[in-house]
């Protein structure tokens, strides 16, 4: 049939708790066709291990220090099959249901594990839903992104949103611009916009989101359009609808 028959399915275990990894390892070991290629205690290790081992399947804990399971998913892309693991998180559970993502609840029972594994095996190679959308669905209502995770090779950077000056759409990527650096991330500008606090970040243009605090002034520029001048002198185009949004927000503030 497929190549998985002769070759073992490689799996990665990611959980910050030793005992939680132990349970998963025991459950996986009962399957001869599965092989644990690495165990990671945090998201950074996980990103590295994925790049190194290219596993077929990841068991990914949701609540972990620094980088959550959703952050990891954002960083590794959606090519790998993922089974999320969580103890209790009503929002995450609902998001998994909505996006039909496999997940396990702690404590993990044998039956549930087998079922999730079967499902995951049958879906190997299938694409997962876009990570930022899944993460957004798992976020409690009225809560917005506090930081953005960006990967450059295997190096992971966390950008606090307050440090973000503006974001610019570039094909399939967004360029996130902070004080001096520019980080590229594979995400649509619309999906980024949905994750940011609309009281602090404004979509001023089809291709631009700006941090409201950085806007120094707005100047007219041609017919129907304007320029936003940032504190550091950067000039960003502002569309007609973008200006309307900007104006409502600025009026609210004063």
């Amino acid at each position: 049939m497929s190549k998985h028959d002769e070759k073992k399915i490689t799996a990665l275990i990611v959980d910050d708790e030793d005992l939680a990894r132990l349970v998963l390892r025991e459950l996986i070991q009962t399957h001869a066709d599965l092989e644990v290629v690495a165990e990671c205690a945090n998201g950074f290790e996980a990103v590295k291990a994925v790049a190194e081992h290219k596993p077929d399947l990841i068991f990914l804990d949701v609540q972990m220090p620094k980088l959550s399971g959703f952050d990891v998913l954002e960083l590794i892309g959606t090519e790998t099959a993922v089974v999320f693991v969580t103890a209790y998180d009503q929002y995450a559970m609902r998001a998994f249901e909505v996006h039909a993502v496999d997940y396990l609840l702690k404590p993990i029972g044998r039956d549930r594990f087998e079922a999730a594994l079967e499902r995951a095996k049958s879906r190997l190679g299938e694409k997962l839903p876009a990570a930022p959308d899944l993460a957004a669905a798992a976020r409690p209502p009225k809560q917005f992104l506090e930081r953005i995770v960006v990967r450059d090779g295997t190096r992971v950077t966390l950008i606090p949103v307050r440090k973000l000056d503006y974001a610019e759409a570039q094909d399939d990527y967004v360029a996130l611009v902070t004080e001096s650096k520019k980080h590229l991330k594979q995400q649509t500008i619309a999906s980024l916009e949905a994750c940011l606090d609309p009281d602090r970040f404004v979509r001023v243009h089809r291709s631009y989101i700006v941090n409201l605090e950085r806007v120094a002034r707005i100047e007219p520029y041609g017919k129907d359009s304007r320029l936003a001048i940032l504190a550091d002198g950067t000039r960003l185009p502002v569309s007609k609808t973008g200006y309307a949004r900007l104006k409502t927000l600025l009026d609210q503030r004063t």
Binding site: L19, V23, N42, K66, A87, D89, K106, P107, E146
Partner: protein, 356 residues
Amino acid sequence: MHPLLTPIRRFGLYLLAWLPLALILIYLMAVPGRLGWLDATVLIVPLCLIYQFVCLSAWYSCKAVPIQNSTAQRLWLTHAIAAAILSLLWVLLAKLLAYGLSQMPSFQGLNSRFASQVPVIFGAGFLLYLLSVASHYVILAIEDSNKAEIRVQETSILARDAELKALKAQVNPHFLFNSLNSISALTSVDPAKAREMCILLAEFLRMTLGLGEKSNVPLTEEISLLHHYLAIEKVRFGARLQMEEDLPELSSSIDLPPLLLQPLVENAITHGIANLPDGGTVRLSGHSHNGRVLIAIENTFDPDSSPMRKSGLGLKNVRNRLEARYGKDASMRVSSENGNFRVELSFPADTGEVRN
């Protein structure tokens, strides 16, 4: 019960308010020159004494025709008819009185002299009754606003009670499921430890059960609860959770609201240690001195991650409960620097019998 009849002081004020009204009436009767001052006084004083009680009846018609949901027509019609009828009765009473008085030698002819004053009495009776109606509407409005205020207060007290009850009764489901997962893992590698963990968890749950009904627990009991909580989390986090303690000779007679400290320790773990890949330290310290208890809970945290700031809600709850119990006698100080988060509580060393 009519609001002007009780307390007695209020009724006294009402009577006093009638004094100038009676004087004006006497003046109106006497000045045109038909009645003498004595005639007018003897006639008006008993009439007013009776009519002031009649005017109290406006209370019932005011309640029957509430000002907010009656049409203006209905209001005027109801009260004008009542005023006319009552005033007419009053006039009859006045005539009767005048007739009676005129039988006495010193007031001979009062009857006929009074006859021309009848319209004045009727007009006064009509207006006085309407005045009373107006006053009663004012009283009703004041009563309504007082009632609304009391209702708001009662609701907020109820809401706070419910919140406290929920707070006291809840065991974080995340904590419970993670603990069960740890036990599940230990059963194969370390059955003895798994059993120990089961006992710890059972004892912790038993201690928190029934706390919802209590308003006080001994401080030593709360600290024992913290020990159980930390021991369970220690199994889960292993070397990532370090603990330090400095709690010398705390008297077992000191009481405090149940689960006042537990949320702080839970915060320290879930928003502090759990966010550190390499873990950190939770430090408990405290002592009692000069009738006051000082407790400090400290933990390492990751300044780059926001959750320690998000713990605000839990802290606010503790602050509210502290305030609800001790008022200004208690204080709570929160500080964070160099990756160290510290909450310090100071409250009176109550022995349980003093309060509640």
